[in-house]
Symmetry: C2
Subunit: 360 residues, 2 copies
């Protein structure tokens, strides 16, 4: 076995220790004589496992008691519909900030349920920045304000939590949840597909303030109704049990690493190392407004597009994989989620230096 450094934007690299643990207990979980994926979700052992994952997430993120934590199916894309369905609460209007392709998708889906006010958009700037706060247009009577804390494709990330008056703040944190400490009490709702920083795809975390739920539209599918899921411990129906278990293993690993403060330090170190190398190279280029450069996803370009394939081929030979940029924007991209060790970034920086010297 020869593990590579995997810079995939998602589904993404997982901690090797987590995978090794899952492998070792795959046929016989805790001497139960069966795999964790063969267990009833109603069994005492499985319910304890699921509750431990929630407790660990609450501890890691310091989630206040008046927030519910839900483990759902359908991905962040499912939440693009579930959020207006659950949070409009008799109102018609919701405010969305447009900072990239993911906020764009959230807006398109929300329009099926709500009158969407786009507070501001960085589309004209090719999504390389975040619109200045002074230019945001916010209807104070709207049901909530939605933004994407990290745009996986553009590599644009909020470095602070925006202020939006009294509107419940809703954020898609799929690609930067658990990457740094966060003041959860500033939010009405936080959601994230697991497949970047939390675990495998197929499970989605929703953290929602208790007073916001219970007024879902009548057309809300039961499995996406926050109140119904909250009242049933996210087991209104059979949850994705193995995904939940793996997510729990990742949370346990994170605690062992020192929690979110330690992760932030590591993530800043990794990103600084890569951005510094890009900026100093005179060869590579990152197009993003330096104030909003993502610590998670680093898109970059070569001086000539025809060098991309040779770069990718040589990188793959060096054990550095999944560096292709998103098909919608091209170029290259390195995703540096929690599970990417510093050694992986150092190997990438060394490789990029060598490639620039031989192709400059």
């Amino acid at each position: 076995m020869n593990r590579v450094f995997n810079f995939s934007p998602g589904p993404s690299a997982l901690p090797e220790a987590v995978l090794a643990r899952a492998r070792d207990e795959l046929l016989d979980w805790h001497s139960s004589g069966m795999s964790v994926m063969e267990m009833s979700h109603r069994s005492k052992a499985y319910v304890a496992l699921a509750e431990q994952a929630e407790a660990d997430l609450r501890e890691l993120m310091a989630i206040p008691a008046h927030y519910r934590v839900l483990f759902l199916q359908g991905g962040a894309s499912g939440q693009f519909a579930a959020i207006p369905m659950n949070l409009l609460r008799g109102k018609q209007r919701a405010v969305y900030l447009d900072t990239g392709l993911w906020s764009d998708k959230a807006i398109a889906e929300a329009r099926h349920y709500a009158d969407v006010q786009v507070a501001a958009s960085s589309r004209a700037a090719h999504y390389t920045t975040i619109p200045e706060r002074a230019d945001w247009d916010i209807d104070p009577q709207a049901a909530y304000f939605h933004y994407t804390s990290n745009e996986t494709i553009g590599g644009v990330q909020f470095q602070t939590i925006p202020t939006v008056g009294d509107l419940p703040l809703v954020s898609d944190m799929s690609s930067d949840i658990l990457s740094r400490p966060l003041d959860v009490s500033r939010f009405g709702l936080i959601y994230a597909g697991a497949q970047k920083n939390m675990g495998p795809s197929g499970i989605t975390v929703v953290i929602v303030r208790d007073d916001l739920i219970g007024q879902a539209l009548p057309v809300t599918p039961g499995v996406l109704d926050y109140r119904k899921q909250a009242d049933n411990g996210s087991m209104l129906n059979t949850p994705p049990t193995f995904n939940w278990y793996l997510l729990g293993l990742v949370l346990e690993w994170l605690k062992g690493q020192g929690g979110l403060a330690a992760m932030e330090t590591l993530n800043r170190t990794k990103a600084d190392r890569l951005y510094s190398a890009i900026d100093a190279s005179g060869f590579y280029d990152n197009p993003v407004d330096v104030r909003y450069r993502s610590l998670m996803n680093v898109p970059f370009r070569l001086p000539r597009q025809e060098l991309e394939q040779p770069f990718l081929d040589a990188a793959r030979k060096a054990g550095l994989v999944n560096l292709e940029g998103h098909r919608s924007v091209g170029g290259l991209r390195a995703s540096l989620y929690n599970a990417m060790p510093l050694a992986g970034v150092e190997a990438l920086v060394d490789f990029m230096g060598e490639f620039a010297r031989t192709h400059g």
Copy 2:
């Protein structure tokens, strides 16, 4: 490691060979240097894996070309909403047959979208039978007819496909899909959560006739819109990649076992063995109309309720686990899905005989 015989109704036992394969390649799939759950769902290797699973399912079930096969999230419970949302096609009414707790749940969810006509119900018979066909009331102008081919809780199973005139026939086959050959062309739509006969929980298969899709209600979440998912190879958003992979391994295993005809023979043998032992015991009792006894889920009772806990404790010691009946009906239940070997049923029958002798 000491594997047990696991009679769980779902999530359920998986073939040991499938689990061993998943374990062996968990950190390094096909010399890729990464786990299959760390791969992008857009990568060539993963797309090939996903397409192979669909091809294997089409081969096993002989699915005609004019049917689409979707791999979705949200479970069969998510489909309880998705089906009316997608299949009403401008109509108001849908017909549902009520044969147990699962059809009951499907009906309750459908009422949020449709005028539900209940064709007939076996509720008054405590869901131990299927209403006589002559007594079904079917509006020929309705959008579709829905039934549950196997009631996991009641242990009631259709032995033939019902005739319902020209209405598209829709069936929840969560607990008996792949257990026997099936004429898919008789159906408008078949759906099944994977966690009984197909794989782990967290992935749901929908097989739908192509002409029925494309007219979803405007409030249908994109992730549950059959047309959008069909147009995107079930990758409108990130699918549950590891679950899909495991489902593929189960399908490959099924082909190696001789396909659905071989499974039916095995499943009949297993069920006959258990029902014969129950009927001959003068101790155990199965309450279901013999015409509709399920080959998958065998509920049974002891002569005195206070024997249940001693039975379960002794069974567990003998390596026979998860024999509790559903909390809504009590008693005991043995689920005999594809992955349960004949040896497991023989061990159960031997144990039951011994228990009856010592407690009779």
